[in-house]
Subunit: 210 residues, 3 copies
């Protein structure tokens, strides 16, 4: 209960945020290793990927302290994660690394899209702004990761559905919420919608019309 | 009057901001279509181009809610604009698209430079800061558009006068304002100065000395 | 004393901040001249390099007015500096320009890392956040400079120690501070640690393991 009151966030939301950080940080670790960056480079990319979207959301909504300043344990989480992911990433072949990044990225997309939408909505933002905050939270970390690693951002690459998935997942949360569905169920439905749609988009090369 | 009091902005300034959004969003639509982005990509680029400069200005000056959070109609404006611009953009040949982007961009440059300078000045910022806010508001959206579309930003390309136009237009507003000229006239003079100078710079390849 | 009270910053810290601005602005001037940008381009790059890191720090910590809005003399400092650096830069050969940039950048890295760490610590931020603010303040301006000039950022290039130096210098300050060493001595030690380590890294091609 204390967590609930102090942070103004439900426990479900905090778990989701932490899982999103793990997913995006993992994608950052693997991507930076592929680019043969040194240890500090790898950490920097992992941090930026995990914290970039939420930081922009907090700045746009003027939420302070920032979520990673308030929750120092998130920083420690990334250090701990490095001890697990970095040794494993040595054994990843190129094709597996690509798949691992895609999966971690799809999961992070779902988790952060749900978290961002829900946070904006708890601040009583208008509904369009909630959707935009969901999408921004979900995609901005990955955009920064790709720009730093000198890749064309996934979100703009070959047009496979990406931001669209976060967009749809964000609406799933808002609609279920309007229908008075319990928050935890709305969050999980939103995460599943985004993540599964993104994985299908990669698998079957789903694209929007140009 | 209610608008005036609630928003702390004159009606003239709001009209200018809305027109600037239309101009920059149009340039974003056309640019993104040229790059054969999908629908979400096209929208994202249009949003970022239209809102990027004002968002950075609002963050730097700590104005909240951000102008596009406060005025949700701006978001709807871009959706409405898409219904007009996107079908038309199919009929644009490459050379016409280039010209259309240049014109929309020059107009947006003038409108946002005047709006940014005026907003900073109403917050009683020192005069140098007002000029910098005018320039930042004017150029930052276009810089983001070009970076996303993988072009060298117009502002740094071949040195044709660009930021310089916004810089001069910003001073035009401040000087007329000091001379007690009516705000609306000062705004329009500033817009015309920036836009015409930019169009001349493109037409006659005007450059600063290196 | 008045300065002390008004700004909430020690005189030592202000001197360091001003020197850091001179160092980074110089590196920006030289880099932009090498790219044959026009005068406005050169200024813009110098400003962004000098103010980028501190601006991001102030935004993340929600400090307003921003340091360069509060201290307009910093803007004038860059104009004055241009009168000295720009004519000189004509006489720089390519190899000398490279060396001059590296030295100015190493010095700026040390100065801003110490300043950023110290500012976060005076705001009673947790110790990890202080270190991150030191590193962000130190590296972000240079990252923006390199991105604008279309170079791979120094911080990610060939893995020579870069962010690592700011990281270590930041800890030097915090540890000396915990040991109750006088602030000015802690600041100078931190600056020397970062700058010398960075210069050694460039000279002897020091790298972290991949």
């Amino acid at each position: 209960m204390a967590i609930n009151i102090n942070s103004g966030m439900s426990t479900a939301l905090q778990v989701i945020e932490a899982l999103g950080i793990v997913a995006f940080a993992s994608s950052g670790f693997i991507e930076a290793r592929r680019k043969e960056m040194d240890l500090i480079g790898v950490f920097t990319v992992a941090f930026i990927t995990a914290f970039g979207g939420g930081t922009l959301r907090d700045i746009l909504l003027d939420r302070r302290p920032l979520f990673w300043v308030q929750h120092q344990e998130y920083t420690l989480l990334i250090f701990a994660l490095a001890l697990v992911v970095l040794p494993l990433s040595h054994y990843l072949r190129s094709s597996s690394a690509e798949r691992a990044i895609n999966f971690a990225d799809a999961l992070g997309l779902g988790l952060f899209s749900a978290a961002g939408t829900s946070i904006a909505q708890e601040m009583q933002m208008p509904i369009f702004i909630c959707v935009m905050m969901g999408v921004i939270t979900a995609i901005f970390g990955g955009v920064l990761r790709d720009v730093i690693c000198n890749e064309i951002p996934l979100v703009f690459r070959r047009g496979q559905l990406y931001a669209t998935c976060a967009f749809i997942g964000s609406w799933v949360y808002l609609i279920l919420n309007l229908a008075n569905v319990h928050q935890t169920i709305a969050l999980i439905s939103s995460i599943l919608a985004t993540t599964i749609l993104r994985l299908l988009a990669v698998r079957f090369d789903l694209k929007l019309p140009a």
